[in-house]
Protein backbone atom coordinates (compact mmCIF):
# COMPACT_ATOMS: atom_id res chain seq x y z
CA UNK A 1 0.00 0.00 0.00
CA UNK A 2 2.84 2.44 0.78
CA UNK A 3 4.16 2.23 -2.81
CA UNK A 4 0.66 2.87 -4.16
CA UNK A 5 0.28 5.89 -1.87
CA UNK A 6 3.65 7.27 -3.01
CA UNK A 7 2.55 6.75 -6.63
CA UNK A 8 -0.79 8.45 -5.95
CA UNK A 9 0.87 11.33 -4.12
CA UNK A 10 3.09 12.00 -7.13
CA UNK A 11 0.09 11.62 -9.44
CA UNK A 12 -1.72 14.33 -7.51
CA UNK A 13 1.11 16.83 -6.95
CA UNK A 14 2.81 16.63 -10.35
CA UNK A 15 -0.06 18.17 -12.31
CA UNK A 16 -0.64 21.90 -12.39
CA UNK A 17 -4.43 21.60 -12.23
CA UNK A 18 -4.25 20.22 -8.67
CA UNK A 19 -2.46 23.32 -7.42
CA UNK A 20 -4.82 25.63 -9.33
CA UNK A 21 -7.85 23.91 -7.79
CA UNK A 22 -6.35 23.92 -4.30
CA UNK A 23 -5.43 27.61 -4.60
CA UNK A 24 -8.91 28.52 -5.84
CA UNK A 25 -10.46 26.29 -3.19
CA UNK A 26 -8.60 28.19 -0.49
CA UNK A 27 -8.88 31.72 -1.88
CA UNK A 28 -12.42 31.96 -3.29
CA UNK A 29 -14.36 30.79 -0.21
CA UNK A 30 -12.26 33.17 1.94
CA UNK A 31 -13.05 36.08 -0.37
CA UNK A 32 -16.73 35.09 -0.47
CA UNK A 33 -16.85 34.85 3.34
CA UNK A 34 -15.25 38.31 3.61
CA UNK A 35 -17.83 39.97 1.37
CA UNK A 36 -20.78 38.14 2.93
CA UNK A 37 -19.66 39.15 6.43
CA UNK A 38 -18.96 42.73 5.40
CA UNK A 39 -22.30 43.09 3.59
CA UNK A 40 -24.17 41.34 6.38
CA UNK A 41 -22.65 43.51 9.10
CA UNK A 42 -23.34 46.62 7.07
CA UNK A 43 -26.94 45.50 6.55
CA UNK A 44 -27.46 44.92 10.28
CA UNK A 45 -25.77 48.19 11.20
CA UNK A 46 -28.02 50.04 8.77
CA UNK A 47 -31.01 49.00 10.93
CA UNK A 48 -32.78 47.41 7.94
CA UNK A 49 -32.98 44.08 9.74
CA UNK A 50 -35.69 45.37 12.07
CA UNK A 51 -33.35 45.38 15.03
CA UNK A 52 -33.06 41.58 15.24
CA UNK A 53 -29.31 41.81 15.67
CA UNK A 54 -28.58 39.44 12.86
CA UNK A 55 -30.47 36.69 11.12
CA UNK A 56 -30.30 33.37 12.98
CA UNK A 57 -30.31 30.78 10.21
CA UNK A 58 -27.19 31.60 8.32
CA UNK A 59 -29.10 33.54 5.68
CA UNK A 60 -26.72 36.46 5.80
CA UNK A 61 -24.21 35.71 8.54
CA UNK A 62 -23.54 31.99 8.90
CA UNK A 63 -21.49 30.97 11.93
CA UNK A 64 -17.81 31.40 11.03
CA UNK A 65 -18.90 32.34 7.50
CA UNK A 66 -19.53 28.66 6.63
CA UNK A 67 -22.68 29.20 4.60
CA UNK A 68 -24.09 26.55 2.21
CA UNK A 69 -22.89 28.75 -0.66
CA UNK A 70 -19.33 28.59 0.65
CA UNK A 71 -19.53 24.84 1.08
CA UNK A 72 -20.99 24.36 -2.42
CA UNK A 73 -18.31 26.58 -3.93
CA UNK A 74 -15.51 24.65 -2.26
CA UNK A 75 -17.10 21.29 -3.07
CA UNK A 76 -17.61 22.29 -6.72
CA UNK A 77 -13.90 23.03 -7.04
CA UNK A 78 -12.66 19.95 -5.21
CA UNK A 79 -14.90 17.40 -6.97
CA UNK A 80 -12.45 17.66 -9.87
CA UNK A 81 -9.71 16.23 -7.64
CA UNK A 82 -11.96 13.25 -7.00
CA UNK A 83 -12.91 12.82 -10.65
CA UNK A 84 -9.38 12.97 -12.06
CA UNK A 85 -8.18 10.17 -9.75
CA UNK A 86 -9.67 7.70 -12.22
CA UNK A 87 -10.59 10.05 -15.07
CA UNK A 88 -7.01 10.83 -16.08
CA UNK A 89 -6.07 7.17 -15.92
CA UNK A 90 -8.78 6.04 -18.32
CA UNK A 91 -8.62 9.08 -20.57
CA UNK A 92 -4.90 8.76 -21.25
CA UNK A 93 -4.45 4.98 -20.95
CA UNK A 94 -2.42 5.29 -17.75
CA UNK A 95 -4.56 2.68 -16.03
CA UNK A 96 -2.65 -0.07 -17.84
CA UNK A 97 0.67 1.26 -16.59
CA UNK A 98 -0.73 1.62 -13.08
CA UNK A 99 -2.13 -1.91 -12.98
CA UNK A 100 0.96 -3.47 -14.55
CA UNK A 101 2.95 -1.79 -11.77
CA UNK A 102 0.43 -2.63 -9.03
CA UNK A 103 -1.67 -5.65 -10.11
CA UNK A 104 -3.58 -5.82 -6.80
CA UNK A 105 -6.56 -3.75 -7.83
CA UNK A 106 -8.17 -3.39 -4.41
CA UNK A 107 -4.94 -1.85 -3.13
CA UNK A 108 -4.94 0.59 -6.06
CA UNK A 109 -8.59 1.50 -5.49
CA UNK A 110 -8.20 2.19 -1.80
CA UNK A 111 -4.84 3.90 -2.33
CA UNK A 112 -6.61 6.33 -4.63
CA UNK A 113 -9.50 6.71 -2.17
CA UNK A 114 -7.16 7.46 0.73
CA UNK A 115 -5.14 9.99 -1.28
CA UNK A 116 -8.27 11.81 -2.46
CA UNK A 117 -9.53 11.97 1.14
CA UNK A 118 -6.17 13.25 2.43
CA UNK A 119 -5.88 15.97 -0.22
CA UNK A 120 -9.50 17.10 0.17
CA UNK A 121 -9.42 17.10 3.97
CA UNK A 122 -6.13 19.04 4.04
CA UNK A 123 -7.41 21.54 1.47
CA UNK A 124 -10.72 21.87 3.33
CA UNK A 125 -8.97 22.62 6.62
CA UNK A 126 -6.91 25.39 5.02
CA UNK A 127 -9.95 26.65 3.10
CA UNK A 128 -12.07 26.76 6.27
CA UNK A 129 -9.30 28.69 7.98
CA UNK A 130 -9.36 31.07 5.04
CA UNK A 131 -13.17 31.38 5.39
CA UNK A 132 -12.94 32.11 9.12
CA UNK A 133 -10.25 34.73 8.51
CA UNK A 134 -12.31 36.23 5.69
CA UNK A 135 -15.40 36.21 7.89
CA UNK A 136 -13.66 37.87 10.85
CA UNK A 137 -12.00 40.41 8.59
CA UNK A 138 -15.32 41.19 6.86
CA UNK A 139 -17.06 41.65 10.20
CA UNK A 140 -14.28 43.95 11.37
CA UNK A 141 -14.48 46.05 8.21
CA UNK A 142 -18.28 46.15 8.44
CA UNK A 143 -18.12 46.95 12.16
CA UNK A 144 -20.16 43.89 13.08
CA UNK A 145 -19.85 41.10 15.63
CA UNK A 146 -21.06 37.51 15.78
CA UNK A 147 -20.79 35.35 18.85
CA UNK A 148 -19.70 31.78 18.18
CA UNK A 149 -19.78 28.87 20.61
CA UNK A 150 -16.52 26.94 20.19
CA UNK A 151 -17.90 23.40 20.59
CA UNK A 152 -20.74 24.07 18.12
CA UNK A 153 -18.28 25.66 15.72
CA UNK A 154 -15.91 22.69 15.86
CA UNK A 155 -18.75 20.26 15.16
CA UNK A 156 -19.86 22.43 12.24
CA UNK A 157 -16.32 22.47 10.87
CA UNK A 158 -16.15 18.68 11.15
CA UNK A 159 -19.45 18.32 9.28
CA UNK A 160 -18.33 20.74 6.57
CA UNK A 161 -15.13 18.77 6.03
CA UNK A 162 -17.06 15.49 5.81
CA UNK A 163 -19.63 16.99 3.43
CA UNK A 164 -16.96 18.32 1.06
CA UNK A 165 -15.10 14.99 1.20
CA UNK A 166 -18.29 13.07 0.43
CA UNK A 167 -19.02 15.39 -2.52
CA UNK A 168 -15.54 14.59 -3.84
CA UNK A 169 -15.89 10.86 -3.26
CA UNK A 170 -19.18 10.86 -5.19
CA UNK A 171 -17.30 12.41 -8.14
CA UNK A 172 -14.56 9.79 -7.63
CA UNK A 173 -17.06 6.92 -7.60
CA UNK A 174 -19.12 8.16 -10.56
CA UNK A 175 -15.94 8.51 -12.64
CA UNK A 176 -14.75 5.04 -11.64
CA UNK A 177 -18.16 3.57 -12.51
CA UNK A 178 -18.59 5.38 -15.82
CA UNK A 179 -14.90 5.85 -16.79
CA UNK A 180 -16.08 9.32 -17.77
CA UNK A 181 -14.34 12.25 -16.08
CA UNK A 182 -16.72 15.03 -17.18
CA UNK A 183 -19.67 12.98 -15.92
CA UNK A 184 -17.93 12.51 -12.57
CA UNK A 185 -17.50 16.28 -12.23
CA UNK A 186 -20.99 17.16 -13.45
CA UNK A 187 -23.05 14.72 -11.38
CA UNK A 188 -22.36 16.30 -7.96
CA UNK A 189 -22.43 19.89 -9.24
CA UNK A 190 -25.56 19.57 -11.38
CA UNK A 191 -27.18 17.29 -8.82
CA UNK A 192 -26.68 19.76 -5.99
CA UNK A 193 -27.27 22.99 -7.89
CA UNK A 194 -29.92 22.06 -10.45
CA UNK A 195 -31.61 18.68 -10.12
CA UNK A 196 -32.30 18.54 -6.40
CA UNK A 197 -33.55 22.15 -6.11
CA UNK A 198 -36.09 21.32 -8.84
CA UNK A 199 -37.14 18.17 -6.98
CA UNK A 200 -37.40 20.18 -3.77
CA UNK A 201 -39.59 22.76 -5.48
CA UNK A 202 -41.92 20.02 -6.68
CA UNK A 203 -41.85 18.47 -3.20
CA UNK A 204 -42.78 21.82 -1.68
CA UNK A 205 -45.85 22.02 -3.90
CA UNK A 206 -46.79 18.42 -3.11
CA UNK A 207 -45.97 18.86 0.59
CA UNK A 208 -43.48 15.98 0.55
CA UNK A 209 -41.58 17.03 3.67
CA UNK A 210 -39.76 13.70 3.79
CA UNK A 211 -37.90 14.47 0.57
CA UNK A 212 -35.04 16.21 2.42
CA UNK A 213 -34.29 12.88 4.08
CA UNK A 214 -33.87 11.10 0.75
CA UNK A 215 -31.96 13.42 -1.59
CA UNK A 216 -28.17 13.03 -1.27
CA UNK A 217 -26.90 16.54 -1.92
CA UNK A 218 -29.79 18.13 -0.06
CA UNK A 219 -28.76 15.93 2.85
CA UNK A 220 -25.22 17.25 2.54
CA UNK A 221 -26.35 20.89 2.59
CA UNK A 222 -28.82 20.24 5.42
CA UNK A 223 -25.96 18.71 7.44
CA UNK A 224 -24.28 22.14 7.33
CA UNK A 225 -27.43 24.22 7.76
CA UNK A 226 -28.93 22.36 10.72
CA UNK A 227 -27.52 21.37 14.08
CA UNK A 228 -27.56 18.48 16.54
CA UNK A 229 -29.01 15.06 15.74
CA UNK A 230 -30.81 16.38 12.67
CA UNK A 231 -27.53 17.52 11.13
CA UNK A 232 -25.84 14.19 11.78
CA UNK A 233 -28.87 12.36 10.36
CA UNK A 234 -28.66 14.32 7.12
CA UNK A 235 -24.92 13.63 7.00
CA UNK A 236 -25.59 9.90 7.41
CA UNK A 237 -27.96 9.98 4.42
CA UNK A 238 -25.31 11.74 2.33
CA UNK A 239 -22.60 9.24 3.35
CA UNK A 240 -24.95 6.32 2.59
CA UNK A 241 -25.47 7.62 -0.95
CA UNK A 242 -21.73 7.97 -1.40
CA UNK A 243 -21.14 4.39 -0.21
CA UNK A 244 -23.90 3.17 -2.53
CA UNK A 245 -21.80 4.51 -5.40
CA UNK A 246 -18.34 3.80 -4.02
CA UNK A 247 -18.83 0.09 -3.26
CA UNK A 248 -20.08 -0.85 -6.77
CA UNK A 249 -17.31 1.24 -8.32
CA UNK A 250 -14.74 -0.76 -6.31
CA UNK A 251 -16.31 -4.09 -7.29
CA UNK A 252 -16.41 -3.10 -10.98
CA UNK A 253 -12.85 -1.78 -10.90
CA UNK A 254 -11.66 -5.17 -9.67
CA UNK A 255 -13.74 -7.15 -12.17
CA UNK A 256 -13.58 -5.12 -15.37
CA UNK A 257 -10.90 -5.20 -18.04
CA UNK A 258 -8.47 -2.28 -17.75
Amino acid sequence: MSAVLRYEWLRVVTVRSTWVLVALGIALPGVLAFFLAWAGAAFINSGNDGGQGGPPDGEILAPLGLSPATVLLLASLLVTIGAVAFGQEYRHGLIRITLALFPRRTTVFFGKTIMVILVVVATSIVAITSVIVGNRFGLAVGDGTLEVEISTALLLIARVIVVITVFTLIAFAVTALSRNQPLGILVPIVGAAVVEPIIQAIALIQDWTWIVWVLPFTGGIEAVETTGAEAWGHLAVFVAWMLALLIPSWVLFVRRDA
Binding site: A3, R6, Y7, L10, R11, T14, V15, R16, S17, Q88, H92, G93, L94, R96, I97, L99, A100, L101, F102, P103, R104, R255, R256, D257, A258
Partner: protein, 309 residues
Protein backbone atom coordinates in the same frame (compact mmCIF):
# COMPACT_ATOMS: atom_id res chain seq x y z
CA UNK B 1 12.15 -19.81 -18.57
CA UNK B 2 11.31 -16.22 -17.79
CA UNK B 3 7.71 -16.09 -19.01
CA UNK B 4 5.47 -19.11 -19.33
CA UNK B 5 2.02 -18.63 -20.85
CA UNK B 6 -0.51 -21.43 -20.42
CA UNK B 7 -3.96 -21.74 -21.97
CA UNK B 8 -4.94 -18.10 -22.42
CA UNK B 9 -8.54 -17.67 -23.52
CA UNK B 10 -10.59 -14.53 -23.96
CA UNK B 11 -13.91 -13.82 -25.67
CA UNK B 12 -15.66 -10.54 -26.41
CA UNK B 13 -19.28 -11.57 -26.70
CA UNK B 14 -19.36 -14.26 -29.35
CA UNK B 15 -15.96 -13.34 -30.76
CA UNK B 16 -13.08 -15.52 -29.59
CA UNK B 17 -10.18 -13.07 -29.31
CA UNK B 18 -7.63 -15.46 -27.81
CA UNK B 19 -8.00 -19.19 -28.14
CA UNK B 20 -6.05 -21.59 -25.91
CA UNK B 21 -2.80 -19.74 -26.40
CA UNK B 22 0.31 -21.23 -24.81
CA UNK B 23 3.93 -20.29 -25.40
CA UNK B 24 7.13 -19.41 -23.63
CA UNK B 25 9.32 -16.34 -23.81
CA UNK B 26 12.84 -17.47 -22.99
CA UNK B 27 15.58 -15.42 -21.40
CA UNK B 28 18.42 -14.12 -23.51
CA UNK B 29 16.60 -13.69 -26.81
CA UNK B 30 14.25 -11.23 -28.48
CA UNK B 31 10.91 -12.89 -29.17
CA UNK B 32 8.76 -11.38 -31.89
CA UNK B 33 4.99 -11.58 -31.49
CA UNK B 34 3.41 -11.51 -34.94
CA UNK B 35 -0.09 -11.58 -36.30
CA UNK B 36 -2.41 -9.59 -38.55
CA UNK B 37 -4.61 -6.78 -37.21
CA UNK B 38 -7.18 -8.20 -34.83
CA UNK B 39 -5.20 -11.42 -34.36
CA UNK B 40 -5.29 -10.97 -30.60
CA UNK B 41 -1.69 -9.88 -29.90
CA UNK B 42 -2.55 -6.89 -27.74
CA UNK B 43 -5.34 -8.77 -25.98
CA UNK B 44 -2.94 -11.63 -25.25
CA UNK B 45 -0.39 -9.21 -23.81
CA UNK B 46 -3.05 -7.62 -21.61
CA UNK B 47 -4.18 -11.06 -20.45
CA UNK B 48 -0.58 -11.96 -19.60
CA UNK B 49 -0.35 -8.88 -17.38
CA UNK B 50 -3.77 -9.39 -15.77
CA UNK B 51 -5.08 -6.17 -17.30
CA UNK B 52 -7.87 -8.07 -19.03
CA UNK B 53 -9.76 -10.87 -17.38
CA UNK B 54 -9.87 -14.25 -19.09
CA UNK B 55 -8.82 -17.83 -18.65
CA UNK B 56 -5.28 -19.14 -18.40
CA UNK B 57 -2.16 -18.44 -16.44
CA UNK B 58 1.01 -16.47 -17.04
CA UNK B 59 4.02 -17.07 -14.86
CA UNK B 60 6.84 -14.56 -14.61
CA UNK B 61 9.92 -16.28 -13.15
CA UNK B 62 7.63 -19.09 -11.98
CA UNK B 63 4.98 -16.94 -10.26
CA UNK B 64 1.94 -14.91 -11.32
CA UNK B 65 2.79 -11.23 -11.59
CA UNK B 66 0.58 -10.22 -8.65
CA UNK B 67 2.62 -12.44 -6.32
CA UNK B 68 5.83 -10.50 -6.91
CA UNK B 69 6.51 -7.78 -4.33
CA UNK B 70 7.92 -5.29 -6.87
CA UNK B 71 6.36 -5.87 -10.26
CA UNK B 72 8.36 -3.13 -11.98
CA UNK B 73 11.52 -5.23 -11.49
CA UNK B 74 9.79 -8.28 -12.99
CA UNK B 75 8.21 -6.89 -16.14
CA UNK B 76 8.49 -3.55 -17.90
CA UNK B 77 5.66 -2.74 -20.27
CA UNK B 78 5.02 -0.35 -23.11
CA UNK B 79 1.57 -1.13 -24.48
CA UNK B 80 0.19 2.20 -25.70
CA UNK B 81 1.72 4.78 -28.00
CA UNK B 82 1.19 7.72 -25.62
CA UNK B 83 1.00 6.24 -22.14
CA UNK B 84 1.36 9.45 -20.12
CA UNK B 85 -0.54 12.51 -19.01
CA UNK B 86 0.12 15.36 -21.47
CA UNK B 87 0.37 17.86 -18.62
CA UNK B 88 2.90 15.96 -16.50
CA UNK B 89 6.58 16.38 -17.32
CA UNK B 90 8.52 13.43 -18.66
CA UNK B 91 10.67 13.37 -15.53
CA UNK B 92 7.66 13.39 -13.19
CA UNK B 93 6.06 10.60 -15.23
CA UNK B 94 9.15 8.48 -14.63
CA UNK B 95 9.29 9.51 -10.95
CA UNK B 96 5.81 8.00 -10.57
CA UNK B 97 6.90 4.76 -12.20
CA UNK B 98 9.98 4.68 -9.95
CA UNK B 99 7.90 4.55 -6.75
CA UNK B 100 7.33 0.78 -6.87
CA UNK B 101 11.03 -0.11 -6.70
CA UNK B 102 12.01 3.12 -4.84
CA UNK B 103 14.47 4.01 -7.58
CA UNK B 104 16.68 7.08 -7.10
CA UNK B 105 16.54 10.15 -9.35
CA UNK B 106 19.91 9.14 -10.78
CA UNK B 107 18.28 6.12 -12.41
CA UNK B 108 15.66 8.37 -13.99
CA UNK B 109 18.44 10.52 -15.41
CA UNK B 110 20.14 7.38 -16.77
CA UNK B 111 17.10 6.17 -18.71
CA UNK B 112 16.31 9.67 -19.97
CA UNK B 113 19.83 9.82 -21.34
CA UNK B 114 19.50 6.30 -22.74
CA UNK B 115 16.46 7.23 -24.84
CA UNK B 116 17.78 10.69 -25.70
CA UNK B 117 15.16 12.72 -23.85
CA UNK B 118 17.40 14.49 -21.31
CA UNK B 119 16.89 17.88 -22.94
CA UNK B 120 13.10 17.64 -22.76
CA UNK B 121 12.91 15.86 -19.40
CA UNK B 122 11.27 18.83 -17.70
CA UNK B 123 8.87 19.57 -20.54
CA UNK B 124 5.25 18.46 -20.70
CA UNK B 125 4.97 15.76 -23.36
CA UNK B 126 1.77 17.08 -24.93
CA UNK B 127 3.86 18.40 -27.81
CA UNK B 128 6.00 15.27 -28.14
CA UNK B 129 6.09 13.60 -31.55
CA UNK B 130 5.01 9.96 -31.76
CA UNK B 131 8.68 8.94 -31.85
CA UNK B 132 9.46 10.91 -28.67
CA UNK B 133 6.38 9.46 -27.01
CA UNK B 134 7.57 5.96 -27.88
CA UNK B 135 10.97 6.74 -26.36
CA UNK B 136 9.35 7.94 -23.15
CA UNK B 137 7.26 4.77 -23.06
CA UNK B 138 10.40 2.69 -23.53
CA UNK B 139 12.17 4.66 -20.78
CA UNK B 140 9.33 3.78 -18.43
CA UNK B 141 9.51 0.11 -19.41
CA UNK B 142 13.23 -0.28 -18.72
CA UNK B 143 13.34 2.04 -15.70
CA UNK B 144 13.52 -0.68 -13.03
CA UNK B 145 15.77 -2.91 -15.17
CA UNK B 146 13.08 -5.62 -15.28
CA UNK B 147 13.70 -9.30 -16.07
CA UNK B 148 11.16 -9.13 -18.89
CA UNK B 149 10.23 -6.44 -21.39
CA UNK B 150 6.84 -6.51 -23.10
CA UNK B 151 6.52 -3.96 -25.90
CA UNK B 152 3.52 -3.53 -28.19
CA UNK B 153 4.50 -1.98 -31.53
CA UNK B 154 7.43 0.00 -30.08
CA UNK B 155 8.83 0.95 -33.49
CA UNK B 156 5.70 2.80 -34.64
CA UNK B 157 6.56 6.43 -35.38
CA UNK B 158 10.31 5.98 -35.01
CA UNK B 159 12.66 7.23 -37.71
CA UNK B 160 15.15 4.78 -39.29
CA UNK B 161 17.98 5.78 -36.93
CA UNK B 162 15.73 5.29 -33.92
CA UNK B 163 14.55 1.92 -35.21
CA UNK B 164 18.15 0.84 -35.67
CA UNK B 165 18.91 2.03 -32.12
CA UNK B 166 15.86 0.17 -30.78
CA UNK B 167 16.96 -3.02 -32.51
CA UNK B 168 20.44 -2.79 -31.05
CA UNK B 169 19.11 -1.88 -27.63
CA UNK B 170 16.68 -4.81 -27.46
CA UNK B 171 19.38 -7.23 -28.65
CA UNK B 172 21.70 -5.83 -25.99
CA UNK B 173 18.98 -6.05 -23.33
CA UNK B 174 18.21 -9.65 -24.20
CA UNK B 175 21.93 -10.33 -24.25
CA UNK B 176 22.03 -9.52 -20.55
CA UNK B 177 19.91 -12.62 -19.95
CA UNK B 178 16.55 -10.83 -20.04
CA UNK B 179 13.39 -11.90 -21.84
CA UNK B 180 12.07 -9.50 -24.48
CA UNK B 181 8.64 -9.88 -26.14
CA UNK B 182 7.95 -7.44 -28.96
CA UNK B 183 4.84 -7.29 -31.09
CA UNK B 184 5.18 -5.56 -34.42
CA UNK B 185 3.71 -5.29 -37.89
CA UNK B 186 7.09 -4.32 -39.36
CA UNK B 187 8.07 -7.74 -40.62
CA UNK B 188 11.36 -6.82 -42.23
CA UNK B 189 12.33 -5.05 -39.04
CA UNK B 190 11.25 -8.03 -36.97
CA UNK B 191 13.37 -10.32 -39.12
CA UNK B 192 16.39 -8.24 -38.13
CA UNK B 193 15.34 -7.79 -34.52
CA UNK B 194 13.85 -11.09 -33.35
CA UNK B 195 15.69 -14.30 -32.59
CA UNK B 196 12.49 -16.29 -32.33
CA UNK B 197 8.91 -15.55 -33.28
CA UNK B 198 5.43 -16.48 -32.15
CA UNK B 199 2.80 -16.13 -34.87
CA UNK B 200 -0.90 -15.99 -34.03
CA UNK B 201 -3.98 -15.63 -36.18
CA UNK B 202 -7.54 -15.24 -34.90
CA UNK B 203 -6.25 -15.70 -31.39
CA UNK B 204 -4.66 -19.08 -32.12
CA UNK B 205 -0.99 -19.99 -32.23
CA UNK B 206 -0.07 -20.88 -35.82
CA UNK B 207 3.71 -21.11 -35.57
CA UNK B 208 6.58 -20.60 -33.18
CA UNK B 209 10.30 -21.18 -33.24
CA UNK B 210 13.51 -19.46 -34.16
CA UNK B 211 13.40 -17.24 -37.21
CA UNK B 212 15.89 -19.53 -38.96
CA UNK B 213 13.77 -22.62 -38.35
CA UNK B 214 10.62 -21.00 -39.65
CA UNK B 215 12.32 -19.55 -42.71
CA UNK B 216 13.97 -22.89 -43.51
CA UNK B 217 10.52 -24.48 -43.57
CA UNK B 218 9.42 -22.00 -46.21
CA UNK B 219 12.65 -21.91 -48.30
CA UNK B 220 13.16 -24.09 -51.37
CA UNK B 221 15.69 -24.93 -54.07
CA UNK B 222 14.99 -23.72 -57.60
CA UNK B 223 16.54 -25.62 -60.48
CA UNK B 224 16.16 -24.70 -64.14
CA UNK B 225 17.08 -27.62 -66.34
CA UNK B 226 16.41 -29.30 -69.70
CA UNK B 227 13.61 -31.60 -68.42
CA UNK B 228 12.09 -30.66 -65.05
CA UNK B 229 9.41 -33.38 -65.27
CA UNK B 230 12.06 -36.10 -65.54
CA UNK B 231 13.96 -34.57 -62.67
CA UNK B 232 10.82 -34.51 -60.51
CA UNK B 233 10.26 -38.19 -61.26
CA UNK B 234 13.84 -38.98 -60.30
CA UNK B 235 13.41 -37.22 -56.94
CA UNK B 236 10.80 -39.75 -55.83
CA UNK B 237 8.69 -38.55 -52.86
CA UNK B 238 10.40 -35.16 -52.58
CA UNK B 239 8.08 -32.12 -52.44
CA UNK B 240 8.75 -30.69 -55.93
CA UNK B 241 6.66 -28.37 -58.09
CA UNK B 242 7.25 -27.49 -61.74
CA UNK B 243 7.49 -23.74 -62.34
CA UNK B 244 7.24 -22.41 -65.89
CA UNK B 245 8.80 -24.24 -68.86
CA UNK B 246 12.08 -25.34 -67.26
CA UNK B 247 11.85 -24.69 -63.54
CA UNK B 248 11.40 -27.04 -60.60
CA UNK B 249 10.99 -25.87 -56.97
CA UNK B 250 12.10 -28.48 -54.44
CA UNK B 251 11.38 -28.27 -50.71
CA UNK B 252 13.35 -30.22 -48.12
CA UNK B 253 16.49 -30.99 -50.15
CA UNK B 254 19.79 -29.16 -50.44
CA UNK B 255 21.27 -27.73 -53.63
CA UNK B 256 23.89 -30.50 -53.53
CA UNK B 257 21.20 -33.19 -53.46
CA UNK B 258 19.12 -31.62 -56.24
CA UNK B 259 22.23 -30.98 -58.39
CA UNK B 260 23.36 -34.58 -57.94
CA UNK B 261 19.90 -35.84 -58.95
CA UNK B 262 20.01 -33.73 -62.12
CA UNK B 263 23.48 -35.02 -62.95
CA UNK B 264 22.38 -38.61 -62.36
CA UNK B 265 19.40 -38.03 -64.69
CA UNK B 266 21.71 -36.68 -67.38
CA UNK B 267 20.08 -33.25 -67.48
CA UNK B 268 21.57 -29.92 -68.49
CA UNK B 269 21.34 -27.51 -65.58
CA UNK B 270 20.91 -23.79 -66.37
CA UNK B 271 20.41 -22.52 -62.82
CA UNK B 272 20.54 -23.95 -59.31
CA UNK B 273 19.83 -21.70 -56.33
CA UNK B 274 18.33 -21.56 -52.87
CA UNK B 275 15.25 -19.35 -52.71
CA UNK B 276 15.34 -17.94 -49.21
CA UNK B 277 11.88 -17.10 -47.83
CA UNK B 278 11.51 -13.82 -45.99
CA UNK B 279 9.65 -13.42 -42.73
CA UNK B 280 7.01 -11.64 -44.76
CA UNK B 281 6.57 -14.68 -47.04
CA UNK B 282 6.30 -16.91 -44.01
CA UNK B 283 3.86 -14.52 -42.32
CA UNK B 284 1.54 -14.33 -45.32
CA UNK B 285 1.64 -18.06 -45.91
CA UNK B 286 0.60 -18.63 -42.30
CA UNK B 287 -1.91 -15.83 -41.88
CA UNK B 288 -2.80 -14.83 -45.44
CA UNK B 289 -6.59 -15.03 -45.12
CA UNK B 290 -6.83 -14.44 -41.38
CA UNK B 291 -6.92 -10.64 -41.30
CA UNK B 292 -9.95 -9.54 -39.30
CA UNK B 293 -10.76 -6.48 -41.43
CA UNK B 294 -9.43 -7.45 -44.86
CA UNK B 295 -8.83 -4.95 -47.67
CA UNK B 296 -10.53 -5.34 -51.01
CA UNK B 297 -8.10 -6.85 -53.50
CA UNK B 298 -6.84 -4.37 -56.12
CA UNK B 299 -4.63 -6.81 -58.02
CA UNK B 300 -6.94 -7.04 -61.04
CA UNK B 301 -8.32 -3.50 -60.86
CA UNK B 302 -7.56 -0.99 -63.62
CA UNK B 303 -5.96 2.19 -62.21
CA UNK B 304 -8.08 5.31 -62.74
CA UNK B 305 -6.73 8.85 -63.09
CA UNK B 306 -7.40 11.06 -60.08
CA UNK B 307 -9.46 8.33 -58.48
CA UNK B 308 -12.27 8.88 -61.03
CA UNK B 309 -14.38 5.83 -61.78
Amino acid sequence: MSVDVKGLNKSFGTVRAVNDLSFSVPDGVVTGFLGPNGAGKSTAMRLMLGLDHGEGLTLFNGKPLAEHPHCSTVVGTHLDARPFLPGRTARDHLRMLATDARLPDSRINEVLELVGLTEVANKRPKSFSLGMAQRLGLAGAVLADPDTLMLDEPANGLDPQSIQWLRQFLKHYAGMGKAVLVSSHLLTEMQLMADQVIVIAKGTLVASGTVEELLDRRSDVLIRCSDPARLRASLGDADATIEGADGLAVVGLTTDEVGQAAFNAGLVVHELAVRRASLEDMFFSLTGDEQQFAFKSVENETPTAGGAA
